[in-house]
Amino acid sequence: MEIVVQSAPFDPGTLLSKFTSRQKTAGAVVSFTGLVRHLDGALQTMEIEHYPAMTDKALETIATEATARWDLEDVLVLHRHGRLAPQEPIMMVATASRHRKAAFEAADFLMDYLKSRAPFWKKEQTAHGSAWVAATDDDETAVTRWEES
C-alpha cells in the first residue's frame, strides 16, 4: 500500500510502470487518473487546498477499507495539492489483484470515497475570477452504494 500527498506534478505512466512491475502475483492492474478540467478553455489555474494533519490519515483509512473489502495485492493512492494547470494530472489510484473484477471495483470504490471523504477542496481561477468547486449531490451519495452490499 502506497499513499502519496504532494504538490509536485507527477507522471501517471511512471507510477503505473513502477506499480505494475512490482507485482509478483497479480493478474490485473487498474488505474484511474483525474485531470484538471479545462472549462472549455476558460480555466487559468486550479488551486487545491487540503488539511495536512488529516489527509494522510483519511487516504490510509480509505485504502485500508478497500483492502479489507477486496482481495487486493496492492493499492496506490496519490493526490496533489497546490496550484495546477489545465489538463495536469490531479490524482491517481491504482489497484492490483488476481481478479479483474476486484481490481475494477476497488478502484471505483476508492474514487467514490476520495471524492467525498478526503479533505481536499478545489478552487478554479478564470479571467472572471475564482470560485470554489461545489460538491455534487452525486459525489456525496455515491459512497452509499458501497454500504448496501
Binding site: E49, A53, M91, A118, F120, W121, E140
Partner: protein, 83 residues
C-alpha cells in the same frame, strides 16, 4: 477548555483566518458554532447554513452532535471536492 479550531476553503475565506485557539465550554460542535456566531458577521456568514458544512474532530469526520470532551482540534469546512 482550550481548543484549536481550523477552517478550510470558503469557510476559511469568510472567517478571514485558517486557525484559531478558542476558550470554550461548548459540549458539542453545534454549541461551539453558536458561540462563534456571536463573535460577528464574518462568523455568521461562514456558518449561515450548517447543512453546507462538514466537521472533523481530531482529524476524523463526524457530525455536529459529537461531544467535544477531550477533543484538541476541531475542523469546519465545506463538503470535500477531492478526486
Amino acid at each position: 477548555m482550550k481548543i484549536d479550531v481550523l477552517y478550510f476553503a470558503w469557510v476559511r475565506e469568510r472567517i478571514g483566518e485558517g486557525r484559531e485557539t478558542v476558550e470554550t465550554d461548548a459540549k458539542t460542535v453545534t454549541d461551539l458554532i453558536a458561540e462563534l456566531r456571536s463573535r460577528g458577521a464574518h462568523y455568521r456568514l461562514a456558518f449561515e447554513d450548517t447543512t453546507a458544512l462538514r466537521v472533523a474532530l481530531d482529524q476524523e469526520l463526524t457530525d455536529f452532535d459529537a461531544p467535544l470532551e477531550g477533543v484538541r482540534e476541531v475542523a469546519i469546512f465545506p463538503p470535500m471536492t477531492g478526486g
